[in-house]
C-alpha cells in the first residue's frame, strides 16, 4: 500500500511526551525521591512498573506519530492511523459543523496549535482531531473547509462579506468582576490547608506550628496582617487564573459564522456557523444574579468534546442587558423576552402534592439500617419542599411567532429559547392528577450532544393544546 498524506508536526511527540510526563511524574517523585531509601516490595515492583510504562509510552508515541497521516481531498478529509490495527476515517467536509482550536503553553513554545473539527456524528471518531499542527497548516485546513460553506450559504443569503465585526473585547475590569464571581479566590484556603497537612506529615510540623500558633494568638495583629496578605495573594492568584482562561476574550462574527477567541496563556478559538445554532440558553447563577451578570450559551451539535470548557458560551460574565444586545446583533432570530408570567398558584399545589420519592426512599433506608438517623429524612423532606417552591417560582413559558421560550430553575435559573424548525419532536402528556388541576406537561427535543430535552410541567391545558397545534401546522414556513 502506498502511503500518502501528511504527518503531524514532529512536535507532536514533544507534546504527547509532556502529557505522559505529567501523568507519571508524581509516581517518580514518590518512588525514587520520597521513598528513595525504601526496599519494600511494592516500591521495588512499582519502580520497575513505572519505568516499563514510561518506555512503552515513549515508543508508542513515536510509532503513533509515524503511522498517523491525514489528507485533504476535494470534499473529504481522510485520516489514517493505527500501529497494528489500521484505521481509515473519512469525513465529508459539508458535515463539519464547527471547529475549535486550542493552544496550551507547550504549543506556544513551538509556535503551534491544535484543531478539532466537530461533526454531528456521535462516538469516538466524531470529533476530528489534529492535536499538533502549525498555524499555517491550520489556516490551510480551514481554508479548505470554509469556502464550501460560504458557497452553500451564498445562494440564499445576502452577498458574502468576510469582514469580521468585533462585538466584544474583555477589559481588565471585566476580568476583576469575573474572578470575583467565579469565586476562584477562595481556592487558596483548601490549597493552603492541603499544603499544610502534606508538609506536616513529612516534617512533623505540628509541634513547631503549635508554638507558632501560640505566638500568633498572643500577637493577634500579626494574625490579621497574615490573613490580609493571604487574602490579597488569593485575589491576585484568582485574577491570574481567570485571566489565563478568559483573558483577551473576543467575540466577533461575519455573515456566516460566529467566532469566539479567549485565553492568554491557554489560547482557545471556536467558530460555529450561525445556521447551525440549535438554541440559546441564558444562565444565571445566584451570585451572577446579584451582580446582574449572565452567561449566554449556544446549543449546537458537537460541543460536548471537552466538558466544562464552555467553549460554545458567549462571554460568561457579561452584564445581562449587554449580553442581550450582543445576542440581538449576532443572532437576530433569537429574541429573549425578559418579562415572563408565572404559572397560576394551583400549579404550586400540584407540585407539592406529587409523591416525594426521595424522602420515601430515605425513610425506608434509614428505618432498615440506621434508625437513630431518622431525623435526616425530615431534612430531606424540607429540602425537597423548598426545591419545589423555588422551582414553581422561576418556571414559566411563552411562545410567540416561531419562537418558544421556557425558564426554570431555583438557585441557578436558565432561560431557553429555540425555534420551531430546530425542534426535533414534541410530546404533550397529562397524568390523572394533572387533569384534576387542568394542566399538562410539554416537552421538546433539540439536536445537541447529547440530545437536549426540555420538559416543562404545569402548563395550562389550553396552552398545551395551542403548543401542540402550533407545531402541527401543515405549512413548513
Amino acid at each position: 500500500m502506498t502511503q500518502s498524506g501528511t504527518r503531524f508536526h514532529p512536535a507532536f511527540i514533544a507534546v504527547e511526551l509532556f502529557s505522559l510526563l505529567k501523568g507519571v511524574g508524581g509516581f517518580y517523585v514518590i518512588l525514587f525521591i520520597l521513598k528513595a531509601s525504601s526496599t519494600a516490595t511494592w516500591v521495588m515492583i512499582g519502580r520497575y512498573l513505572i519505568v516499563a510504562i514510561t518506555i512503552i509510552g515513549i515508543i508508542s508515541t513515536i510509532l503513533k506519530w509515524f503511522f498517523h497521516r491525514y489528507e485533504l481531498r476535494y470534499n473529504t478529509i481522510v485520516i489514517r492511523n493505527g500501529i497494528f490495527v489500521k484505521n481509515q476515517h473519512t469525513v465529508a467536509i459539508d458535515k463539519i459543523h464547527n471547529h475549535l482550536s486550542n493552544s496550551t503553553f507547550i504549543h506556544k513554545w513551538f509556535g503551534l496549535t491544535s484543531l478539532t473539527l466537530e461533526t454531528a456524528a456521535t462516538g469516538d471518531l466524531a470529533p476530528f482531531q489534529f492535536p499538533v499542527i502549525t498555524e499555517r497548516e491550520k489556516a490551510r485546513i480551514l481554508a479548505h473547509i470554509e469556502p464550501k460553506h460560504s458557497e452553500e450559504i451564498e445562494e440564499t443569503t445576502v452577498p458574502l462579506s468576510l469582514n469580521k465585526t468585533v462585538h466584544f473585547r474583555s477589559t481588565k475590569k471585566d476580568m476583576l468582576k469575573a474572578s470575583f464571581t467565579s469565586l476562584s479566590f477562595l481556592a487558596i484556603f483548601p490549597l493552603l490547608s492541603a499544603l499544610y497537612s502534606n508538609l506536616a506529615n513529612f516534617f512533623e510540623l505540628e509541634e513547631t506550628a503549635e508554638s507558632a500558633l501560640d505566638y500568633l494568638l498572643i500577637h493577634w495583629w500579626m494574625l490579621i496582617v497574615l490573613f490580609t496578605i493571604a487574602l490579597g495573594l488569593s485575589v491576585v492568584i484568582g485574577y491570574i487564573k481567570t485571566s489565563i482562561k478568559y483573558g483577551n476574550y473576543m467575540i466577533s462574527d461575519d455573515n456566516v459564522r460566529i467566532y469566539i477567541e479567549k485565553g492568554i496563556g491557554h489560547y482557545t478559538s471556536f467558530s460555529i456557523q450561525k445556521h447551525r445554532v440549535q438554541a440559546v440558553i441564558v444562565e444565571q447563577s445566584f451570585l451572577k444574579r446579584l451582580l446582574g451578570l449572565a452567561a449566554v450559551k449556544l446549543v449546537c451539535v458537537g460541543d460536548g468534546s471537552e466538558p466544562g470548557q464552555e467553549t460554545s458560551s458567549l462571554y460568561p460574565f457579561m452584564p445581562k442587558h449587554e449580553a442581550y444586545q450582543l445576542l440581538q446583533t449576532i443572532l437576530p432570530g433569537y429574541h429573549i423576552e425578559e418579562y415572563m408570567k408565572r404559572f397560576p398558584v394551583k400549579v404550586l399545589w400540584l407540585k407539592l402534592l406529587q409523591p416525594y420519592y426521595v424522602t420515601i426512599l430515605a425513610v425506608i433506608g434509614l428505618l432498615l439500617f440506621k434508625r437513630e438517623w431518622l431525623w435526616a429524612a425530615a431534612v430531606i423532606f424540607a429540602l425537597s419542599i423548598a426545591n419545589r417552591i423555588l422551582d414553581y417560582w422561576f418556571t414559566s413559558y411563552i411562545h410567540h411567532g416561531r419562537t418558544v421560550q421556557i425558564r426554570k430553575g431555583g438557585f441557578t435559573n436558565e432561560t431557553y429559547v429555540t425555534h420551531r424548525e430546530r425542534i426535533q419532536q414534541i410530546t404533550v402528556s397529562h397524568s390523572w392528577l394533572q387533569r384534576k388541576f387542568g394542566v399538562a406537561t410539554i416537552s421538546f427535543a433539540n439536536k445537541a450532544n447529547p440530545l437536549h430535552i426540555s420538559q416543562l410541567q404545569g402548563v395550562s391545558k389550553e396552552e398545551a393544546g395551542t403548543f401542540f397545534t402550533w407545531y402541527h401546522k401543515k405549512a413548513l414556513n
Binding site: 445556521h275 426535533q424 419532536q425 397529562h430 402541527h472 414556513n477
Partner: protein
C-alpha cells in the same frame, strides 16, 4: 377530550391484548425464577437478613405489578393507542392514566423498521419503529399487511421531505 388538539385516528390490532398478556406472563415467570434462586442462595449461604426482607418486598412488587400488567393494563393500552401517519407528521397517542401525545415531523425521520417477536408472529403482528437522529418511537401490534404498507409510506414521505428540509434549514 382533555386538550383541544387534532387527535390521531388509526387503532392498533385488538390481538395486542393477547400478545401483551402472554409476554407479560413470561416476564413474570422469569422474575419469579430469579427471585426464587436468590431466596435459595440466601438460605444456603446464610446471607444477611435484610437481603431476605428486600427479596420479599421485591416479590410483593413483582406480584402486584404482574396482576396489573396481565389483567387490566393491556386492555387500557390497546384501547387508548392511536397513531396517524401523513405527509408531514407521525403522530402517536397512548396511555390511560397518563396520556401522552407525540408529534414527529417527517423531515426529521431518519429510518423506519418493522420488528416481530415470537409471540407476535403467532398473531401475525409487527412493531413499527420510527427513528429520528435523536430518539426512536415504537407503534406496537400492527397487522402484517398494514405494517408493510405503513413502512414504505413513511419511508417515501420521509425521503420526499428531505429536499424540502434543506431549504428550510438555510432559510432559518
Amino acid at each position: 377530550m382533555y386538550i383541544e388538539i387534532e387527535e390521531p385516528n388509526q387503532r392498533i390490532s385488538s390481538d395486542a391484548v393477547k400478545v401483551w398478556r402472554i409476554s407479560h406472563s413470561l416476564t413474570f415467570l422469569v422474575e419469579l425464577l430469579v427471585i426464587a434462586i436468590l431466596f435459595f442462595c440466601t438460605n444456603i449461604f446464610g446471607w444477611y437478613n435484610w437481603i431476605e426482607t428486600i427479596l420479599s418486598i421485591l416479590f410483593g412488587l413483582a406480584f402486584l405489578s404482574a396482576i396489573y400488567n396481565i389483567t387490566i393494563q393491556p386492555v387500557f393500552l390497546q384501547r387508548t393507542w392511536r397513531y396517524q401517519v401523513d405527509e408531514q407528521f407521525v403522530q402517536l397517542k397512548h396511555g390511560k392514566w397518563t396520556e401522552e401525545h407525540t408529534l414527529i415531523p417527517m423531515e426529521k425521520v431518519e429510518y423506519v423498521k418493522t420488528e416481530q417477536g415470537p409471540v407476535m408472529r403467532r398473531y401475525g403482528l409487527y412493531t413499527i419503529e420510527v427513528g429520528t437522529t435523536t430518539s426512536s418511537h415504537k407503534i406496537p401490534a400492527i397487522p402484517e399487511d398494514i405494517a408493510k404498507q405503513l413502512k414504505s409510506q413513511i419511508a417515501t414521505y420521509a425521503k420526499i421531505q428531505d429536499t424540502i428540509t434543506e431549504e428550510g434549514e438555510k432559510g432559518a
